[in-house]
Each structure stands twice: as C-alpha cells, then as structure tokens.
Amino acid sequence: MTALIDDKDTYLSAFARFESARAKDRPALVKLRHNAIERFAGLGFPTLEDEDWRFTPLASLTRVPFQMAPSGDGPELMYPDGVIVCDLVQAIAEHPELVEPHLARYADFEEHAFTALNTAFLQDGTFVYIPPDRVFQEPIGLNFFASAIDSPLVWHRRVLIVAGRNSQATFCETYNGPAGVAYFTNAVTEIVLDEGAILDHYKVQREGNGAFHVATIQVRMGRSSNFSSHNIAFGGKLARNDVNAYLDGEGSECTLNGLYVGGGEQLIDNHTRIDHASPHCASHELYKGILDGKSRGVFSGTIYVHQDAQKTDAKQTNQTLLLSDDAVIDTKPQLEIFADDVKCTHGATVGQLDAEAVFYLRTRGIGAEEARALLTFAFANDVVGRIKIDRLRSELEQLLFASRKVPDGTAQEAP
C-alpha cells in the first residue's frame, strides 16, 4: 500500500505548489484544476486490474518522481493566416465565449486518471480556433519538443481545437524528445467539430526511447461533420493513446487510422472508442502495427452504437505484422450495439511476412533482407499512403525505410 501513496504523492505535492503560484487565474479555471486533482487523488493511477489497462503495466512510469517541466514551454506553432492560435489560459481570458463551452467538457476526467492529472496542471495549453465557413489548405502545426533534460520531467500538454461551422482545415501535432532519458508526456487534445466542419488530424509520436507518452484525443462531432485522424506512433518506452470520437449529430463521418511501429522492448497501446450517438453516421477504422524485437502492442477498439443510432455504418480493422518470435500483440475489438438497423463489421489479423512473397522477390534478384523490408514497408504504406500532407508522408516513408533498409526505389513511389 505504501507504493500507491508514493505514486500520487509527487503529483499532489507539486499541485499544492502549483495551485498557490496560480491562485490569481480566473476562478472557473482554478476550480476546474482543483476538481481535477481531487479526482486524481481519488482514482489513483490505473492498475492491471482495470479492464482498460490490463495489458499495460504502469509501474515503471508511476514509480518515477517526475517533476513539472518549467512553465512557458509550449509547442512550436505554424498556422495559416485567419486561424486563431493562442495560449489556452490567455484564450480563456480573452475569448471566454469560444473556450468555456468546450474546455474539459469532452475529455472526461471522472474515470480517467491521466486526463484528471493533465487538467489539474493546465497551463501553457494551446487553443486553436478555425472560423466558420473558412477553408484552409495549409496545415496547422503544433510541434512539441521535450527539451534538454537533466532530471525526470513531466509535461502536461493540453490542446483545444474548435472547428467552426462548415470550416475545412488540417491539423498536425508532433511529439519529439531526446533518446536515453526518462521523461513523461501527458497529453490531452480536445477537438470539437461544429456542424458541417471538415478536419483532417495527424499525430506523429517520436518520443525518445526512455520516454513515457500517455495521450487522450477526444473528438466531438456535430451534424454532417467529417473527421479523419492518422495516429502514427514510433517512439517511447511506453506509449498509450486513447482516441475517442463521439458522433453527436446525424450524417457525420469519422475515420480513425493508425500505424504503430515497435521494436526493442517498447510497449505501444492504442485504445479507440467511437460512440455512434446519432443516426446515419459512418465510421471507419484501420489500425496497423509492426512489431519487432521483444516489443508489445495493444489494440482495443470499441464501437458503441446508441439506441437511436439507426443506419449506422461502422467498420473496424486491426492488422498486425510480427517480425520476430518475441513480439506480442493483444488485440480486442468490442462492439456494443443497441440499435437494430445497423451495419457493423470488425476484423483483426495477426501474421508474419508471406514467405512465398519473400521467395518470389528473391527469385527476381532482390536480397532476403531487402525483400522483407519491402514487404514491411508495403504493409505500413496502407496507412502512410493515405496521408494527404505530402511533406509529412515523404518524411514518414523515409523514416520507415531508414529503419528497415528498404531498397532506394521505394521512396519515390507515391500512391
């Protein structure tokens, strides 16, 4: 029992200092933080007994006394003219009517300890507002860097994006940090799509090999909105994503794609949940994993179709490629369907490279290593090939084949 108290203690004492330093913030914000820390104290970190965490042991994270990273360390921002991007706390003060209806209303901290923790330490967050009826071709970019670290630090990264009615935009968040050191990124990104909004979302996680990355992406979709997310994970010693989409209006379409690439002793865990809360909505999920060495992958995809969500069309696919004998995947699709006129399918496959395909390539002169690399790249390209930001897609192609020794020709191919 002593261990449990220690786990929260670092954060509770840090909060006490944080709270008194920020006592002059808006009362609503102070109250929000206070409620959140109380909830965290009540919940504690999840254990292997929690259904949603049973494949993901957290002891190596929770026992490290991570100290808060210095304040003022927000992301690098890039965005086209016309999009409003500013510090979240500043936005609460300057545009409360835009922020308060949404902030912390979607990412629930009642049951989720990491979200509670993130909300408790809310500062240096980013607010992105895409005005209604505007169309933006250039992507909005948020790049998070865990800067030079001497001791174990935690960054609580917070983003709120509101996409106005009928707007169209692309948003990309990246996470990078140094290798060989322990640090902790605890991220929450809330995304709201008003009626008719179209948003393409990309996340690229390339944390260092000693890092812990726990993130929640919470999406609320309005009527006739269109959201597609591409969640690419390479790094971290332990990485966990919760991607949740709540379809809160008829006729919306949600695409959740992901690619996770693990090696060494990494653990990469993706949990997704799509709530079909309205009729006539469609969702597609394609999550692919490539696991080598002694890495472990976890995929749990929940589709929850509410009682009134007639004419739901939901499809979920999870495919994993195991490149070594020691790599492990735990995959768990979950369908809970309470409406009676719906189409729901799910499929999961786990396999190795097709030996006949490897042989075929070798009989054409391609070396065994190269053949395997080519086939592995092809597997990943099913997800990477759908990325619409050319620069990002090329970067990822390069990254994939640099680590896999794919023959040079491959990078030139754009599907």
Binding site: D354, E356, A357, F359, Y360, L361, R362, T363, R364, G365, I366, G367, A368, E370, A371, L374, L375, F377, A378, F379, N381, D382, P407, D408, G409, T410, Q412, E413
Partner: protein, 260 residues
C-alpha cells in the same frame, strides 16, 4: 550453359527427383513434359532455390558455377529466371517499384550502374510493348486482382525486363484461355535469341504448338525416360503417358537415354 548431373531431390521423406540429367546450351529451347506427380514443379523449385527441397545427390552447373551452392537471389543475379506456375499476389508493392528494385539488384551484382526512376520507366515502356502491358498495370500491386492470364503475362513481362540467361517456365500454360496463351507465347518467342536458354515445363502439348521446342524430354517418376525433337511431343499427345508408364522397377534398370 546449364548442366544437370544425376540430380536427386526429396521433400521430407519422399524422394521425387531420382537422377535427372540434362544439358541446355545457349539459344536452345527445351521442353519437359510429364504426368502429374512426375517431379516437374520440383525440378523448377530445386533450380530456383526453394528451401522445401533437399538435394540428396548430384549437382547443377550454371555457366560453370555451382548453382546449388547459391541462394535464390544469387541465382537470379547470375541470370536464372523462374516463371511461376502460381504467381503470388503482393499487396502494397507496385509492379514498377518491385521491378526497379529487381533490375537494380541484378545490375549492381554485375557491376553495372543502377537505373534511376526515369531511365527505368523508359526501359519498362520499351518492354511493355512486347506483352501489351498497359501503364495502369504497372502501377498496380504485383499480381493483385490479376486474372490467371494476366498473372502469367506478368511473369513473361518480368522475363523481358530482367533479360535472364536461362528462363524456366513452370506450367506457364495452366489456366490460360486461347487468347492469353497466344499473347504469352508470342512474348516468349519474341525473347528467343542465340544467347538465351529456355526450359518449358508443361503437362500439355498444346503450348508447344506455339513455343516450338528444339528438344523434348519426358519426365516420369522423377527421371527423364525419353528425349527427342519436337515430334516427340506430338507422339506423346497421340499415345498418352501410358506408353511411358514403365514401373519404377523397370525405370531403375533402364539406362538414361542419351541426349538427342
């Protein structure tokens, strides 16, 4: 250029090739015909380097080098090509990317400069005329969604692009209709020249009307029991394999017929 001497091979406990002798010189087209189970695909597999087969006796020289000592990619780089009976589908890898990697691996092995994307595309365009391959087919993943005929045509197209010294066609006619057969045969015939050797493995004589061989060998129970010219194929067609249905004991006693 290819000399097979007393080749014995087995799969698990089962001995399939029981002393194959064959010699193919540059420019020659040899046909091997035989009933099901005679060892046709095993021979193709052993020559291409499939792991499943174990060679228990004999050797194979390819342009003076020990073929069996090389792994599959080395054999291809030395100039051996196998047109598969059942070409595998490879989703996510386009024909173009795959062939570029293959061509460059072989060129690198020979000490030739590798082709860049533009040079390679030019090569492909030249070769696709031989087999009526469209640009669209090149962008598609290898064999994915291809009909049987399209897959076989793709095999011969690869042969055209890779320009091998020895091509082994493993039951290339199986599953083909008349039109596909003609296109594939025309493609193979266009690739016949004084340097290249071709080994056509087939069950039916029909293919040999289109790809007329210089030599025909009959393979029964893992041995070549008769060799002859192209007329032998017609004789076989007329009489059937019964004529050659010697029992295993009889085959064991008979000496190998001399090369025609």
């Amino acid at each position: 250029m290819l000399t097979i001497f007393n080749l014995h091979a087995r799969v698990g406990d089962k001995e399939i090739l029981r002393g194959i002798n064959l010699k193919i010189n540059p420019g020659e087209v040899h046909a091997i015909m035989g009933p099901n189970g005679s060892g046709k695909s095993t021979l193709a597999g052993v020559l291409a380097g499939r792991d499943a087969y174990e060679v228990t006796e004999g050797n194979v020289l390819f342009n003076g080098k020990d073929l069996l000592d090389m792994d599959a990619e080395e054999r291809a780089r030395e100039g051996l090509f196998l047109a598969f009976q059942y070409p595998v589908e490879i989703p996510g890898v386009s024909n173009r990317i795959f062939l570029q990697a293959a061509v460059n691996s072989i060129r690198k092995h020979k000490g030739e400069p590798e082709l860049d994307a533009a040079e390679f595309l030019a090569l492909l365009r030249r070769k696709s005329k031989i087999l009526q391959m469209s640009d669209d087919l090149l962008k598609r993943p290898v064999n994915e969604g291809f009909s049987g005929g399209e897959k076989k045509r793709n095999e011969i197209f690869q042969m055209a692009v890779l320009d091998p010294k020895l091509a082994i066609l493993d039951e290339t006619d199986s599953g083909l209709d008349i039109d596909a057969l003609r296109i594939v045969s025309d493609g193979v015939n266009a690739l016949r020249n004084k340097e290249r050797g071709i080994l056509v493995i087939t069950h039916y004589q029909r293919l040999l009307n289109h790809i007329v061989p210089d030599f025909v060998h009959v393979l029964v129970s893992g041995r070549i029991v008769k060799s002859g010219g192209k007329e032998l194929a017609l004789e076989l067609e007329a009489k059937g394999y019964q004529e050659f249905g010697w029992s295993d004991a009889e085959i064991a006693k008979k000496p190998q017929p001399a090369q025609a």
